[in-house]
Amino acid sequence: MTSSFLLSLTTFAYLVCSLCYLAGVTFRFRPFLLCGTATGAFTLVIHSAGMLLRWKESYDLGFGHAPLSNLYESLVFGAWSIMLVYFLLERRSKQRALGVIPSVLAFLAMAYASFSPEIDSRIQPLIPALKSNWLIAHVITCFLGYAAFAVSLGISVVYLLKKKDNPGHGSSGVLGMFPTSRQLDELNYQMILFGFLWLSVGILTGSVWANSAWGSYWSWDPKETWSLITWLIYAAVLHVRAVRRWRGRKVAWLSMLGFASVLFTYFGVNFLLSGLHSYAVK
């Protein structure tokens, strides 16, 4: 068995998982949701095994490193983080319907990683600048942050749909499967806080690493700058929520703006702007 087999299996299993969640919400049939959770949890295990196996395979090739080094590996890890953070939320909130958007995002990330011709999925040796244990700390912390923001995006979308559908309390229909607006707002806030904290740790680990690799903890490289932009946006969200008591719609929209910034930090900077973090670099 190879890691690429396990990771391909993961891609399809997330598709099944997201379809289960989707069916559960659409047909308002809770056992489907339970099925989504079960498939998702099982897939997360295969997914983890796939990443660990890839880690081992890199050692067999003679240049072992954690599978966190290029665009393919980071997408795979991104999908893993989204599902992990989502399941933490599901356990805490006991709300299964929210799984729709995170599982779709995880499937899309895996599918993009596996099927895009631009993405090289071979295990490659590390260039000198990436040879550092800070790589592991930096990638893990940043992606936990990104994943929390992705889950927050899902909650925000549901919140906005729900408000539109039925402005009063307690919606009926498909949206009735989801938690109440007030709960959604609260969960959204928790996810933003969680993401903000991990993004901050990610920026710290990145700057400690940069300080030992390039002699500067901050060099205004486009990716660094965009992570700061993301940080500033979410900082603004936290301020208006804490002091201005903004709730619901406005926070949901701001959270979507923040996630757009996350996406640009991740993809836009890679493809449009060059810099230290560009995976396209030889």
């Binding site: 240049f63 040879k131 901050s200 205004w220 946006i233 301020h239």
Partner: protein, 450 residues
């Protein structure tokens, strides 16, 4: 009165949340601009990239060096001012709130809380007092009894008082980070030094300025080495460095990317490398005559046997106008008159490969390496990193703790007795509501059991 307000207006605006949010978003937008315009272009690149009209705007707003521009620094200074003013304005109030200890409780007040519960008792609750006390003591770190109407019992209990101060820790940590960055830019420097293998230097050329810094010691590169993977990707860059003080060896270290050397607060990073000409072997032939082979160390004149001429390699190019490597060779005549030309190494038959009467052929080029070191001194780094750690501690504490307070009143009524409980949390969270209701349940059962 009106004057007073006017005087206060800018100050209070600086402390307002609106200003903070606007500032955060303007900083985000400013940073965004800097990623759209290439930073740190040279004068030449600027003029070739932009039309004179655009260039005027670019240089007016320093868009090519935005993060060091006056207006960006001004925004940072405003952020610092905003944090300081906010703190000065709010911290005393927070401290007062924390310090103030209510001594009495009017049960009337508890009916106004949005989070409250009450239930009636069949009899005077006197007997339940001890059980309730015991339970509060177990559930809360701080618990105090309050004065109230005779025969009744009132108490306030709280948890996590300090958590409301954590937001000040977060804000202070941002100031610490900015301070560290400021100290670094004031007392530090960043530059480059290129040291050929076997030689030493103490001159650092600063980035972005036509200036150099002389170190109080010398750095010698004993060896530079680069290795590759089979795929052709670089695997490792390595330099063996020695620190010299008045010619005496003080320290010896091998550095790699991600593994720099620090000496007296100055850090040397492996950052680039390059090749230079060490020595060339050439063949000189006069139109009629035997060829002469000569070894020419770079830039050292060598006498040409059988003549009064001296010959010297003055310059070397890796790729001369796409014709490959070329040597700039100069021949000095007896009276010191130079005559020279570029000699193409890979094209021995090129008709221009001659100086004076001699045809010159390059037989061998021996190259040496120099290591490119990035040199940095930044006394602010540890301040910045401490600020960051403080930020994380503060954020974690702010996010995952809250100041929770519960008031309780228990007393006799005409019909028997009544219990009133109200709660408040510094974070208006659903979790606290659940905790509150759960607490009320436990309180009820504890009291009933008594």
């Amino acid at each position: 009165m009106a004057r007073n307000v006017l005087e206060k207006a800018p100050f209070s605006y600086l402390a307002s949340l609106k200003f903070t949010v606007v500032l955060l978003l303007v900083l985000a937008f400013g940073s965004l601009l800097g990623t759209l315009f290439p930073q740190g272009l040279s004068e030449h690149e600027l003029t070739s990239r932009y039309t004179p009209e655009t260039l005027r705007w670019v240089s007016f707003f320093s868009l090519h060096d935005l993060y060091h521009s006056g207006w960006f620094r001004f925004l940072m200074a405003l952020l610092a001012a905003n944090i300081i003013v906010c703190t000065l304005q709010r911290l005393p109030k927070t401290l007062n709130l924390l310090r103030r200890k209510e001594s009495a409780l009017n049960p009337e007040r508890l009916t106004k809380f949005s989070l409250r519960q009450q239930w009636s008792l069949a009899a005077d609750p006197g007997a339940q007092r001890e059980a309730v006390r015991e339970m509060l003591r177990r559930s809360f770190s701080s618990f105090r009894e309050l004065e109230t109407s005779p025969g009744a019992f009132a108490a306030v209990a709280e948890k996590g008082r300090w958590s409301v101060l954590m937001i000040y820790v977060v804000h202070m940590s941002i100031l610490v980070i900015l301070l560290g960055a400021f100290i670094g830019s004031l007392f530090g420097f960043r530059g480059m030094m290129n040291i050929p293998e076997g030689s030493a230097s103490d001159v650092v050329h600063l980035f972005g300025r036509q200036e150099a810094v002389r170190l109080p010691f010398q750095v010698r590169c004993d060896d530079f080495d680069i290795s590759f993977y089979e795929t052709g990707l670089p695997k490792e860059y390595r330099s063996d460095l020695t620190i010299l003080l008045d010619g005496r060896e003080v320290k010896r270290r091998t550095i790699r990317v991600n593994d720099p050397l620090t000496h007296e607060g100055v850090t040397f990073y492996q950052s680039s490398y390059g090749a230079f000409l060490e020595e060339a072997e050439v063949e000189l032939r006069r139109d009629a005559g035997d060829p002469v082979r000569l070894r020419l160390p770079y830039r050292q004149p060598v006498a040409l046997p059988g003549s009064n001429l001296r010959i010297q390699v003055m310059d070397f190019l890796e790729n001369f106008s796409q014709f490959g490597p070329a040597l700039g060779i100069v021949v000095w005549s007896e009276d010191g008159e130079p005559e020279g030309s570029w000699i193409l190494a890979d094209r021995p038959n090129f008709h221009g490969n001659r100086v004076g009467d001699y045809r010159i052929r390059v037989l061998e080029i021996k190259k040496g390496h120099y290591t490119g070191l990035q040199v940095k001194k930044d006394p602010g780094v540890w301040i910045v990193i401490s600020g960051f750690v403080l930020l994380l501690v503060g954020l974690t504490a702010t996010f995952y703790t809250s100041h929770r307070k519960i008031w309780l009143w228990m007393g006799p009524t005409e019909a028997g007795g009544k219990v009133l409980v109200a709660g408040k949390s510094s974070k208006n969270s659903l979790a606290f509501e659940q905790e509150f209701h759960h607490f009320c349940e436990r309180l009820r059962s504890a009291a009933e059991a008594a």
